[in-house]
């Protein structure tokens, strides 16, 4: 199983990435950025926390497991309507099935309390959205490479 995972990127299996973001600008930028990076990836986008949970648990319109696979990495905005990023994070980390999926908190705030809360809830990392597209490209390159190639996420038991 480990060998299969390790070869995911090299074999050309795209990294399944879920972006939870309500800001259309940021979505557009992220889409372009994930297109531009060398790593093969499929970027799924949901607009709020509730949708994110639906996507992960295959509820409602995301019932199709083939169309909406289990994500390898979640980029999670904190401030969102309905269910916010912390709630999503805390929900996932309580769930034995999904707790191993690395979650990178994505926010425009660099509030220390938010950072602390994120790590406390076992977020994998915390990225402050920078002004400057180039910086953003650099950041996501580092993170996706890190989580896919260098330190492959441990395989979930069900798979």
């Amino acid at each position: 199983m480990n060998a299969k995972d390790k070869n995911k990127a090299t074999k050309g299996v795209p990294l399944q990435i879920l972006l939870v973001e309500d800001n259309e600008d940021d979505i557009l930028i992220a889409k372009k950025a994930f297109k531009e990076i060398k790593l093969k990836n499929n970027l799924y986008i949901v607009r709020d926390g509730q949708e994110a949970l639906d996507f992960i648990y295959h509820k409602g319109e995301y019932a199709d497991k083939q169309k909406y696979p289990r994500p390898d990495l979640i980029l999670l905005d904190i401030n969102m309507p309905k269910v916010d990023g912390f709630q999503v994070l805390e929900q996932l980390k309580q769930d034995l099935e999904y707790m191993m999926i690395p979650v990178i908190m994505l926010t425009s705030s660099n509030n220390e309390a938010d950072i602390a809360r994120s790590y406390k809830a076992h977020a994998a990392s915390y990225i402050q959205k920078p002004i400057g597209y180039e910086k953003f490209i650099k950041l996501i390159t580092i993170f996706t490479n890190y989580w896919s190639a260098v330190n492959s996420p441990p395989q979930d038991n069900s798979q």
Binding site: D26, K32, N79, F136
Partner: protein, 675 residues
């Protein structure tokens, strides 16, 4: 000794007592002394006069007494009975002898007359003495005791001496006193010549004692309680009292004084024929005023004297009376002084007590003195003053409360402003991020579709974006500086500055700046992160501006001086310098002195620095001249007085509880972080 300075510091009561005593006793003492002294003088003079009078009078009396006796004897000697008696007794004495019938028959004839005479004139004895000096008759002695008389005559008895004198002078003579120890009687003889025609046939002698003289002397009229008269006679080298003295009944012929001895000078003077007046100490050791006289007729000295104690008794009484009056007066004066001092000092003491109470913060205390005098006035104006004080204090309290209110309001507004700045700049980031990204896509991906004019506009947009991005970052830093309080810790400033230098090493190398950091900077109790911001901004500025002075090699220095209560740090450059008129403005928010094109930066740096220094209760200022470089100085107190946060003040005031505050803060933080 009580010095003036000490007197000034005495309590009012003591001062009053001393003054009153001074005023009362000084004139009284002077009056006492003068009246005592003058009365003493008057008394002395009066007594001396009266003593002189007594003395003269006594001398006269003695003389009259003895003259009378002398006259009596003279007259007796002229009587035919006596002439005949001497003739007949002598005849019988020489021709027949004493114990013969012839002598007895003569004796029988004359004795009654002679005895009568002796008795009636109170003499002790009557002698008839023959021309040759034999006692031919005596009243008490038997005539057969003739041999005894002979012996007596030749033994230099006073009788013999006076007879010899009489025989020589042919006049009546008086002998000195002679004392018979066996009979304890004094004897004095008066002898008168007896003539038959012109021939001296013998003498008649009468013996008298000092009884009557004593009576005379014992008359103390005019001599008071202690006055006395002393009569003394010189016997050889001694002065012998011949009358008893008032305080020694046995003095006569017992008390003797050697001539030229120390005692009884006045008596010695008197018997040596002098007269005078003076004060001496007598045989009893008492001070006496004496008057002395010489009685030439009898070669006696007479002294009349009186104790000075008695003389001055009335003066002493006067003095004692005055002393008692002084003492009583002193007591009265002391009591009065205490009463008066109390009446003055007790209201003052009350005022002091009241003002003490007021000083301890009880402004309801009031003086309760309602007299109409100056002290009452003082009390009233004191009360008025206290009223004004209460009013003023109320005013101050009101103003203080108002100020406190305003301060709270201001702090809340400041906090709101900080949080607004934070939120606003935060919110500004999101759209800016989009603008940056999309303008970048345009520039990169659509380069072939946009003409040169369009590209120029795009590049203007890009530079506007990067400037705005920096502005927002600085705004965030600034609001974070105010919002975030890091715990104070002991920070080694050398380490801190080194870590800052590492962060900007690239710039320093690029501008070829010569950097000089003092090696002995202290450890300071401060907020490490914020203090880092201070050095970062100051060193950054110094590097930036020194490198712009193109004529010289850029140099930047960092150091510290110990100023006792605080440390003074400096960051020095040799850059373009700052005109004096901007020295205050540069610490204001977003104050730029240069055009955007000349120097990068938003101008927030120095206001961040100032905020941090303010937070550390330090001061910051700049010394600079255009073209000569700038030196930024700032101080950090060694002892940080922890400023209370608004919340703590609110809790202390009881405005809100701790729970409420925490709730409010959490709520506020949540609102801030919505972006």
């Amino acid at each position: 000794m009580l010095r003036f300075k000490d007197f000034r510091n005495l309590r009012i009561t003591v001062k009053f007592i001393l003054w009153f005593l001074f005023i009362a006793l000084v004139p009284l003492s002077i009056a006492t002394y003068i009246s005592y002294d003058s009365s003493r003088k008057v008394l002395e003079e009066e007594v001396a006069n009266s003593l002189v009078a007594v003395a003269d009078n006594k001398a006269n009396q003695v003389m009259v007494y003895l003259r009378e006796k002398e006259g009596n004897v003279t007259r007796l000697s002229h009587t035919s009975d006596i002439i005949e008696a001497i003739e007949r007794y002598s005849e019988a004495f020489y021709n027949n002898g004493v114990n013969t019938p012839e002598y007895s028959s003569i004796d029988e004839g004359f004795r009654p007359f002679l005895t009568y005479y002796q008795k009636s004139f109170v003499y002790d004895e009557l002698f008839l003495i023959s021309f040759s000096g034999d006692v031919v008759f005596s009243i008490n002695e038997r005539p057969d005791a003739r041999s005894l008389y002979e012996i007596a005559l030749y033994e230099n008895s006073e009788l013999a001496k006076v007879f010899i004198r009489t025989k020589k002078s042919l006049k009546t003579e008086i002998s000195d006193f002679e004392y018979y120890p066996e009979t304890k009687k004094a004897a004095l003889f008066i002898s008168a010549p007896v003539f038959k025609g012109a021939d001296l046939i013998g003498a008649v002698a009468l013996q008298m004692n000092n009884q009557e003289l004593c009576e005379l002397v014992k008359d103390y009229t005019g001599l008071g309680e202690t006055g006395e008269t002393v009569i003394a006679s010189r016997m050889g080298d001694e002065v012998v009292f011949i009358t008893p003295v008032r305080f020694d009944p046995h003095a006569a012929f017992e008390r003797k004084i050697s001539i030229n001895s120390e005692e009884g000078i006045y008596i010695q003077n008197a018997v040596q024929g002098k007269r005078g007046l003076g004060t001496f100490v007598d045989y009893r050791g008492q001070g006496v005023l004496t008057v002395w006289r010489y009685l030439p007729l009898f070669r006696w000295g007479m002294v009349v004297k009186m104790d000075t104690d008695e003389i001055f008794a009335s003066a002493h009484r006067l003095r004692n009376t005055l002393l008692i009056i002084s003492l009583t007066l002193s007591m009265v004066v002391v009591v009065m002084a205490i009463l008066i001092a109390r009446s003055v000092s007790s209201p003052i003491r009350e005022l002091t007590k009241v003002s003490g109470t007021i000083a301890y913060g009880d402004l309801t205390a009031r003086a309760t003195i309602d007299t109409k005098d100056e002290i009452g006035e003082l009390a009233r104006s004191f009360n008025q003053m206290t009223d004004s004080l209460v009013e003023a204090k109320a005013n101050v309290e009101r103003k203080k409360a108002e100020l406190e209110e305003q301060k709270k309001l201001l702090e809340i507004v400041n906090r709101e402003l900080d949080s607004f700045v934070y939120t606003a700049s935060h919110d500004l980031r999101a759209p800016l991020r989009g603008i940056e990204a999309f303008s970048g896509f345009l520039e990169k991906d659509y380069a072939d579709k946009i003409d040169d004019e369009g590209k120029k506009y795009l590049s203007r947009i890009r530079s506007g974006i990067s400037r705005m991005s920096r502005l927002i970052d600085d705004l965030l830093t600034l609001s974070r500086i105010s919002r975030v309080k890091n715990p104070f810790e002991d920070v080694n400033m050398n380490d801190l500055v080194s870590s800052i230098i590492e962060r900007i090493e690239f710039d320093i190398k690029e501008h070829k700046v010569e950097l000089k950091i003092a090696k002995d900077m202290p450890v300071v109790h401060c907020d490490r992160i914020k203090m880092g911001e201070v050095f970062l901004n100051l060193i950054n500025n110094a590097v930036k501006f020194s490198s712009k002075n193109k004529d010289i090699n850029p140099k930047v220095g960092v150091g510290c001086m110990d100023k006792g209560d605080s440390y003074e740090f400096y960051v020095k450059d040799n850059g373009i310098g700052i005109d004096k008129k901007y020295h205050k403005d540069i610490f204001g928010m977003f104050k730029r002195l240069h055009k955007q094109e000349e120097y990068e930066g938003t101008g927030a740096g120095l206001s961040i620095v100032k905020r941090v220094i303010d937070d550390h209760q330090g001061q910051i200022w700049v010394e600079s001249e255009p073209g000569k470089g700038s030196t930024f100085h700032f101080t950090i107190p060694k002892q940080q007085v922890q400023k209370k946060k608004l919340g703590e003040i609110l809790i202390e005031d009881g405005t809100i509880s701790k729970e409420e505050l925490n709730k409010a803060l959490r709520k506020q933080e949540k609102e801030e972080d919505i972006s």
